[in-house]
């Protein structure tokens, strides 16, 4: 049996019919068609599918899709404003913080969740924020540096 679910995706209202027990990751990729969200494990253990639900980081693969009714969901597809990249995206580019690029969308959203709440985090807080996200290529250091750089860029803008 399919259930209708309506939620806001990157500011746009979307409606989808989901199978009973469907997870948000499959709902976004297979039903809504947002392929920027990647799946790494469907077990809740790699962070690749990290999205924001009402501003909080969540693992789409273990989020029951129908619990998202009426919620506001952000994916990397909504990170960029038109042609302008989000400071995190710019920082990831400048710091060569991506290799294969598969964990990158989840990393960016985990980082956004942090910076939205804490614009100037310490290195420890950055490490904590991406603690649930697996990267097999970079050794994490460039990602940590990129997030710290993005937060400094934010400081400059607000200053």
């Amino acid at each position: 049996m399919r259930t209708p679910v309506q939620f806001s995706l990157n500011g746009e209202e979307v409606a989808a019919f989901v199978e009973g027990g469907a997870n948000l990751l499959d709902a976004l990729r297979e039903t809504v068609g947002d392929l920027t969200v990647k799946g790494g494990c469907w077990q809740g253990t790699c962070g690749t599918c990290t999205v924001l639900i009402d501003g909080a980081p969540r693992l789409a693969c273990i989020t029951l899709a129908e619990t998202c009714a009426g919620r506001s969901i952000e994916t990397v597809a909504g990170l960029r404003r038109g042609p302008d990249l989000h400071p995190l995206q710019t920082a990831f580019i400048e710091h060569f913080a991506a290799q294969c690029g598969y964990c990158t969308p989840g990393m960016l959203m985990a980082a956004k969740a942090l910076l939205d709440r804490k614009p100037s985090p310490t290195r420890e807080e950055v490490v904590e924020a991406i603690g649930g996200n697996i990267c097999r290529c970079t050794g994490y250091e460039p990602i940590i540096e990129a997030i710290l750089a993005a937060s400094r860029a934010g400081d400059r803008r607000s200053a």
């Binding site: 060569f96 904590e128 603690g131 097999r136 970079t138 050794g139 994490y140 460039p142 990602i143």
Partner: protein, 340 residues
């Protein structure tokens, strides 16, 4: 509790390309009518930067700006054969194929330019900014764009090139193992600094200092990506990773990223890297390949550092705290630190 620091070193070399050769790669390069180039490959970019490095090799060889080159990978209908992305062969084998294709395309481009400028192609040079000019008389020049237009619509020339690179397969003498495994080797020496908890066997890697010789770093940032990420993987292999924690007993195999252990962002350490470049005679601009070898010195360097710290040798990977603790108990207690 007592924590002991130690340092260990390892030095390695690594063969570039498939052992014994016999692993060809092809490339096609062609220009569109406005002087923008496309490289067609069937090679794979799995994060190592194949698209980016071959793009730089092509631009350098053609003598055009990087923005004027786009690399299209991995379509078996349009990209010619490539053995694959493994054995540290991408930069060396594919790079050479792209270089050969770009040289062929450049020759046509220079002929076409010569025809337009009514000079001898031998007297022309590229300025790397999208122009072709007469050596010593830079005012006499033509843009690559105009050359491409002329070649396509007036001269009827295709500014394109085909390239293949093959290290011919060599035999092995069954009796002696005499063989030609590789045409060039990358090198590295790495020093690891660790801290060992002699009550729990836990090992923390505090710092790595390394020197890698890679022939030519075609792109220093992509090289850094490989060396930093590769050293992390080496540390991970040394201390954490196994799908069979009780090998050769097959029990308790990890099923997910909670059970399969790899160092997290809180486990990493500073890594001070120096790059040396001794060009490989047969490498594209002397390049070898950093992709695989970067992880190799880390494993023994950490093992040797643990010995330097607490005087125990663990010869079985991964060097888990349990193995360190068992070894410590076997030689009852750790000596005072022998930090160098």
């Amino acid at each position: 509790m007592a924590k002991h620091r130690g340092r260990g070193v390892a030095a390695i070399n690594y063969p570039i390309g498939m052992n014994l050769g016999g692993d060809p790669s092809q490339a096609l390069v062609h220009s569109n009518p406005s002087g923008k180039f496309t490289v067609a490959l069937s090679s794979i970019d799995l994060g190592q930067g194949m698209k980016s490095v071959t793009r730089q090799i092509c631009a350098e060889t053609l003598g055009v700006p990087i923005e004027d080159v786009y690399v299209d990978t991995a379509d078996s209908d349009t990209g010619p054969h490539c053995m694959g992305s493994f054995a540290s062969r991408g930069t060396h084998r594919v790079g050479n194929a792209v270089m050969a294709a770009a040289r062929e395309a450049r020759a046509v481009m220079m002929e076409a330019a010569a025809e337009e400028l009514e000079v001898d192609a031998g007297d022309l040079e590229t300025d790397g900014r999208g122009n072709i000019r007469v050596k010593g008389a830079p005012q006499k020049s033509i843009s690559v764009k105009d050359v491409a237009v002329a070649a396509q619509f007036r001269q009827g020339k295709t500014i394109s090139g085909r390239g293949i690179f093959l290290v011919p397969l060599s035999d092995v003498d069954p009796e002696t193992g005499e063989m030609s495994p590789a045409t060039c080797y990358a090198h590295a020496c790495l020093i690891a600094e660790v801290e060992v908890d002699d009550e729990t066997g836990e090992v923390a890697v505090l710092k790595m200092t390394s020197a890698y010789e890679l022939g030519r770093a075609l792109n220093p940032k992509l090289v850094e990506q490989q060396l930093v990420g590769g050293a992390w993987m080496g540390m991970s292999h040394a201390l954490y990773e196994t799908p069979e924690p009780y090998y050769p007993d097959t029990r308790n195999g990890p099923r997910d990223f909670n059970e399969y252990l790899m160092p997290g962002p809180g486990d990493i350490c500073p890594h001070d890297i120096t790059v040396l470049e001794r060009p490989a005679p047969d490498g594209p601009f002397g390049a070898k390949g950093p992709g695989e070898m970067c992880a190799n010195p880390v494993l023994p360097a950490i093992a040797n550092a643990i010995f330097n710290a607490v005087g125990v040798r663990v010869n079985e990977l991964p060097i888990t705290p349990e193995k360190v603790l068992r070894a410590l108990k076997a030689k009852n207690g750790a000596p005072a630190s022998r930090f160098r």
